[in-house]
Amino acid sequence: MAKLTIADLKKIKEKQHATFTLREGGYRAKVTVHMGTCGIAAGARNIMTTLMDEISRANVEDVITTTSGCAGFCAREPMATVEIVNKAPVKYGNLTSDKISEIFREHVMGGNPVEKYALVVGSETTY
């Protein structure tokens, strides 16, 4: 990798904003699985594997999955966040393989959040 300059930082930022905001990145949905030590111990890896399976089975290309660190709400691990383009993100908790499959079908593919597993909608504000 070439050495970064300050100008590069700006470019990366702009480019990332494009993908972050789904729309411009050409993605329809993004699923983030929270994988800190707690989450992994509670079974986050399993959730991730199930999710990947579902995606490949459904043969869709406009859904991205990503991992992230601890979401802080340890009592509800494992957790995942589903973002659909133009919609507020929804956080799910106490996940199992079955639950994530259902969420994938209903929410990611069907666009309807699965109320019974959802914890909260919206994104946290930073100060």
């Binding site: 300050i6 990332q16 992230s68």
Partner: protein, 616 residues
């Protein structure tokens, strides 16, 4: 509005009146009176709400929960659920027709609403292994500014003005620390990060290193530039493999892209960073001990002065900052000291991350403004004690160096100054909640076991003193406590505090002192009455079934490992004391609270042989 716990804004617009507001109001009023809530909850009739189609509608303040299509029949259920049990009655909750769901908003849930995310600004948002995603959230912009546009003096000024205090526990002003090291003259200086999170019950640093490793590295680059260090070390616990892996990946990608190494971001500044794995010694959280450990020695503290800012790692000027401290350097540089001070109090500005654990509903990692009442963290964010029917007893702050804060003091604001007044410390941020089933003498013993074990042995008062105190506490919890033990414990504590070299010894007696201060009666009961009210110390309690409360369901009988419970179905059961092991399982199993904990029986059915020589 303040006089009432809640206000019910019942819509009395034309539409709602037509669909039944007057009847609903009468039913509500009657039900509130019946439940004895009429003095706490006020019904207010309001003008049209605009949601006539869903009427009658009602808004509950302060929670701002919106109920729709109220009917007289549903009122008792609603009052019971919402005002007695404290959970919104979902069935009648307003549902956004378009969205067709009842998922609460961030702002609806105190756990999210009351948090301020600065250190945890990227938590759960970015892929910790992606440099690009970190950069997208303003990552390394502060480093670029600090390296190219600021002098060390300017950086120090911002840090000092911000009032940031080290988050590792002692709360020393970061700006000052940097200033001392910056002024030291030497051919080599070191910028160090303390990721040897040792307090049991604390996992803030682990989470930050795992979720946002670049934020720590960026903080270190800025610190290194300020003090003039070309080398840095992150000291991480070997027990945190995931944190190590992610930091390692972050360091290599930084090296590849020139954010570490030579001539960072064309500024002419060089900084190399490596990871050093701790090998598990609590005392290595102390700065001089940590440095000894990196040098490959036993991690024992040494007297200060000389301070590490003059003679630290390999006798060179060094700065050691904690993970959480470093993670908030970048936003301070970007947004300025005033922004930082917009949260918190004069002496304790900014925000602090706490790890909420123990007997609490919302176990988790929370970041709150300094000065927030302890009560808000525990009840609103934490959701209170996790078991129904159990009462909050104490919250432990600051790990083995801290203390237990009782219910009476729960209103205090969380600042360095206020917490110290209670005898506890803010510490690194562990908050362990304990309910009424906790024995405070055993808790003090637990912490002392920890410090006695982790004492490096250099100072006699700490090495021997903690042992002696531990033996005394063991005696008290096993029924050999004597009159005067409490005073002796206090005296010993004072000596250990006064004569130990490092923080470990100086704070080791805190858990004992605070439990004596606030829960002295429990010590007394253990010593004088041979009674551990919580039923934890098995030598100091006996279990009995209260006839009036026992339903004869037999659950305790099935759960008893020693078949000590007898009784016929649907008739009060009885515990055969000769067989009872005081294991407490019946107490935990019984749903009706019919098991009572009384003092140990005077004549033990089977006298346990207690011999000094017997070791387990």
């Amino acid at each position: 509005m303040e006089k009432y716990r809640a206000n019910l804004l019942l819509c009395a617009g034309t539409g709602c009146v037509a669909t039944g507001t007057p009847k609903v109001r009468d039913a509500l009023k009657a039900e509130l009176e019946k439940q004895g809530l009429a003095d706490e909850i006020k019904i207010v009739l309001t003008g049209c709400n605009g949601f006539c189609a869903e009427g009658p509608v009602m808004l509950v303040y302060p929670e701002e929960i919106f109920y729709q299509k109220l009917t007289v029949n549903e009122i008792p259920k609603l009052v019971e659920e919402h005002f007695l049990k404290g959970r919104p009655y979902e069935k009648l909750m307003f549902k956004d027709i378009e969205k067709k769901h009842a998922i609460p908003l961030m702002n609806d849930i105190p756990f999210f609403k009351l948090q301020v995310l600065r250190v945890l600004r990227n938590k759960g948002m970015i892929d910790p292994e992606s440099l690009d995603e970190y950069i997208a959230r303003d990552g390394y912009t502060a480093a670029a500014t600090a390296l190219n546009e600021m002098t060390p003096e300017e950086i120090i000024k911002v840090m000092k003005d911000s009032g940031l205090r080290g988050r590792g526990g002692a709360g020393f002003p970061t700006g000052l620390k940097w200033e001392f090291a910056s002024k030291s003259q030497a051919d080599q200086k070191y910028m160090l990060c303390n990721g040897d999170e040792g307090d049991p019950g604390a996992f803030m640093d682990r989470s930050v290193m795992e979720a946002d490793p670049h934020s720590v590295i960026e903080g270190m680059i800025i610190g290194a530039k300020t003090i003039g260090a070309s080398k840095g070390v992150i000291y991480v616990r070997a027990e945190y493999p995931l944190a190590v892996e992610r930091l390692q990946k972050a360091i290599s990608v930084c090296l590849d892209s020139g954010l570490l190494g030579e001539n960072i971001l064309d500024s002419g500044f060089n900084f190399n960073l490596e990871i050093y794995l701790g090998a598990g010694a609590f005392v290595c959280g102390e700065e001089t001990a940590l440095m000894r450990s990196i040098e490959g020695q036993r991690g024992m503290p040494r007297p200060r002065p000389p301070f590490p800012a003059h003679k630290g790692l390999w006798d060179k000027p060094s700065v050691l900052n904690n993970v959480e401290t470093l993670a908030q350097i970048a936003p301070i540089i970007l947004n300025g000291a005033d922004w930082y001070r917009s949260l918190g109090t004069e002496k304790s500005p900014g925000s602090k991350v706490f790890a909420l654990t123990g007997d609490i509903r919302n176990v988790g990692l929370v970041e709150v403004p300094m000065g927030i009442p302890l009560k808000t963290i525990i009840y609103d964010i934490g959701g209170g004690v996790n078991k129904k029917k159990k009462k909050f007893k104490a919250v432990q702050l600051g790990g083995p160096s801290g203390g237990c804060i009782p219910q009476e003091l729960i209103d205090i604001p969380v600042t360095y100054e206020d917490i110290v007044k209670t005898g506890a410390i803010v510490g690194s941020g562990g908050m362990v909640v304990m309910d009424e089933d906790t024995c405070m003498v055993s808790t003090a013993k637990f912490f002392l076991e920890f410090t006695a074990d982790e004492s490096c042995g250099k100072c006699t008062p700490c090495r021997v003193g903690t042992r002696v105190m531990l033996d005394m506490l063991t005696d008290i919890t096993e029924g050999r406590g004597k009159e005067g033990d409490i005073e002796t414990l206090q005296d010993l504590s004072k000596d250990i505090i006064a004569t130990s070299l490092c923080g470990l010894g100086q704070t080791a007696p805190n858990p004992v002192l605070t439990t004596i201060k606030y829960f002295g009666h429990e010590y007394e009961a253990h010593i004088k009455e041979h009674w551990c009210h919580a039923g934890i110390c098995s030598d100091l309690c006996s279990f009995h079934i209260v006839d009036d409360l026992c339903k004869g369901c037999g659950a305790c009988m099935r759960g008893c490992p020693s078949n000590a419970i007898v009784g016929e179905k649907k008739k009060p059961h009885r515990i055969i004391q000769e067989l009872c092991l005081q294991c407490r399982s019946c107490y935990d199993i019984c749903k009706f609270g019919s098991i009572e904990i009384r003092p140990a029986l005077e004549t033990k059915p089977e006298p346990a042989v207690k011999d000094e020589e017997v070791t387990t």
